[in-house]
């Protein structure tokens, strides 16, 4: 009995020792910053003359009245609701297309994946040119058909939409790779069995391919949602959140508060809100979708 106790005891110790490095790293770079942000959000901003003091939930009260926060949050919701479903469905469509036997398959594959390989700054610059008034790509096309000049990024009505288009273009290729990998794992025998059993393309996709892709879809969706809340770099290059915060998103607003206005307390408050939103969405995604997924 004693022997067994000793063994299991040392097993536990061994186990903990093995995960210790990973736990340490995760704590240092994930848990500690979250905790530190939470604490920081309860203090006032430190200035040269006034030290930081505990102010309780005052920052959160300010946040509730902050029109810009609500605008940015709304922007972010619109942005997420557009980019997530669209980029995922386009990714799936492209993966299905190039998984089949088509001519010039590797060329198409490469073309679909190129946006992902490009550095984000380069992407933003390319699209900055596309959207340039008068001589940008889109305006040149419009001009060809007799259209006028548009200030795509300078117009509050179109700025966010412009960002959405660009991000879908960039993200789809990346998500496609996951779908393509999942599709290639599927046994061709299943497709053949489906064919012999008389299932058409659409029926087979609905009953077999799509359900079997669900683990990938969940993974990609979580990633897409998280990505949609952490876009900063393109904004810095293209619009700086303008005009009048029309294209600003949550993380960019945090960045502005922290590093342009140096209001780190308020930035910490916003961060806590962002993390909470992401946590809730992810929990819902896993709780609801997980049950319906078949893992092989």
């Amino acid at each position: 009995m004693k022997q067994i106790f000793k063994l299991t005891y040392w097993n536990h110790v061994n186990g903990w020792l093995l995960v210790l490095p990973a736990v340490f790293m995760i704590s240092l770079f994930t848990h500690f910053p979250i905790g530190s942000s939470m604490i920081h959000s309860l203090f006032s901003m430190e200035t040269a003359t006034r030290p930081s003091t505990f102010i309780g939930l005052e920052n959160y009260a300010f946040l509730m009245d902050d029109d810009i926060f609500w605008k940015v949050l709304k922007n972010n919701l619109v942005y997420s609701l557009c980019t997530v479903p669209l980029s995922i469905s386009i990714a799936l469509g492209m993966a299905l297309l190039i998984n089949g036997k088509i001519k010039g398959r590797s060329l198409v594959r490469m073309a679909f994946f190129t946006p992902t390989v490009l550095p984000m700054i380069a992407v933003a610059n390319i699209w900055l040119f596309f959207y340039t008034p008068e001589y940008g790509l889109f305006d040149q096309i419009f001009a060809f058909f007799g259209g006028g000049s548009h200030n795509w990024l300078g117009n509050p009505d179109t700025a966010l939409f412009c960002l959405i288009v660009m991000v879908i273009w960039k993200e789809s290729g990346f998500f496609m790779v996951f779908y393509l990998a999942a599709l290639q794992q599927m046994s061709p025998e299943l497709r053949e069995a489906g064919t012999v059993e008389g299932s058409g393309r659409w029926y087979y996709f609905r009953r077999v391919t799509f359900p079997l892709l669900m683990p990938t879809t969940l993974f990609v969706t979580v990633n897409a949602v998280v990505n949609s809340f952490k876009l900063v770099d393109h904004l810095v290059i293209m619009t700086k959140g303008g005009p009048d915060n029309a294209s600003s998103l949550l993380l960019y607003y945090i960045y502005e508060n922290a590093f342009s206005f140096w209001d780190t307390s308020y930035a910490a408050t916003l961060t806590v809100v962002l993390v909470t939103i992401l946590a809730i969405i992810t929990i819902i995604q896993f709780a609801v979708v997980e049950k319906r997924i078949h893992y092989q």
Partner: protein, 352 residues
């Protein structure tokens, strides 16, 4: 009603000739086995019948109708795949009625067919399970169920038992055979296992390098092999193929005669037809013995040639011994050295 006829079928991929000049007929309600070593084209032939591949030339008829250019669904066939091809996310019941749903068969009819098939295959208590929760044999039954509920008279099987262990394989092949006979299905069955083929088939087509080597009943393939390939493929252990040298020609001069000391034929003789004799025959060296219970296999060397002898019961021969073996003329086959074809006349000089 649902006989299958292949006429002058050939199939090539690029420069690879997978099948050439395949002609055969599978009678209605019979079980035809396509047998051969891997890469011989047996699976390709089956996939051509199924419509999963299209022939480069030639025609395929099922039930008197030319189906060469029809998609699988219009050919009125069902198919069981080597790895079962069950949909992993669907329950047993869903898997079985998958095709019926795809073809919009009424719900009531689906239920009835599912119930009948499940009862027939002993799956009634497993209908809610997922394929991952089933044993290999049960998965195989589900795959069979899927092909039974289709209620088509042609069933194609691509090495359906190769993933099962030996005991289960024996049970399942009996089950498949009795199912085929009870439902009067026309079945084409691909396997590389000659024991499976011999036990299950009405007719066997033995294939080699994309050609039909021999088409006949199991007895015909065993007793009247058309080529040395058939001889050495059918039967366990395989037939000994000997190159006649002077010693052999001398020892069996009563039954063999050639133009010279190296006649243009080879001698085929089955291990079970070899006997240990006192005085006549040839002397061979025992290399190893394998005691199998009912038989003993004795691996021997004769000059540079290998000979296997199968004896009933336990043999006293040991490795290193010299034994004298002999055979009767009626058990001997002669095959042409170049073509491999069997020479029908053995006693007299086959090359006048």
């Amino acid at each position: 009603m649902s006989s299958i006829i292949l006429k002058n079928i050939s199939k090539r991929w690029g420069s690879t000739q997978a099948l050439s000049d395949i002609n055969f007929q599978c009678e209605d309600g019979t079980l035809l086995v396509l047998l051969g070593p891997s890469g011989c084209g047996k699976s390709t032939t089956l996939r051509l019948i199924a419509g999963l591949e299209t022939p480069t030339s030639g025609t395929i008829e099922i039930g008197g109708k030319d189906v060469s250019n029809l998609p699988p669904v219009k050919r009125n066939i069902s198919m069981v795949f080597q790895n079962y091809a069950l949909f992993p996310h669907l329950s047993v019941a869903e898997n079985i009625v998958f095709g019926l749903k795809a073809r919009n068969i009424p719900k009531q009819e689906q239920k009835k067919r599912l119930k009948d098939a499940a009862a027939l295959l002993g799956l009634s208590t497993l209908l809610e399970r997922k394929p991952a929760q089933l044993s290999g044999g049960q998965r195989q039954r589900v795959a069979l169920g899927r092909s039974i509920v289709a209620q088509v008279s042609v069933c194609l099987m691509d090495e359906p038992l190769s993933n099962l262990d030996a005991k289960l394989r024996q049970e399942m092949r009996q089950e498949i055979r009795s199912l085929q006979q009870r439902l009067k299905m026309t079945m084409v069955y691909v396997t590389h296992d000659q024991v499976e083929a011999m036990t299950i088939a009405d007719k066997i087509i033995l294939m080699n390098s994309g050609r039909i080597e021999q088409h006949g009943t199991p007895e015909e393939l065993y007793n009247q092999p058309a080529t040395d390939f058939t001889g050495s493929f059918i039967g366990n252990p395989p037939m000994n193929i000997l190159i006649p040298d002077e010693t052999i020609l001398k020892a069996f001069s009563s039954m063999l005669s050639g133009p010279d000391s190296s006649p243009p034929y080879r001698i085929g003789i089955r291990p079970e037809n070899l006997t240990i004799s006192g005085e006549s025959g040839i002397t061979v060296q025992v290399v190893a013995t394998e005691y199998l219970g009912a038989d003993t296999l004795i691996a021997c060397r004769f000059g540079r040639q290998d000979i296997t002898v199968a004896l009933k019961g336990k043999s006293a021969a040991r490795a290193g011994d010299s034994i004298r073996i002999s055979w009767k003329p009626e058990h001997m086959y002669l095959f042409h050295t170049d073509t491999g074809k069997r020479l029908l006349e053995t006693k007299k000089d086959p090359f006048p």
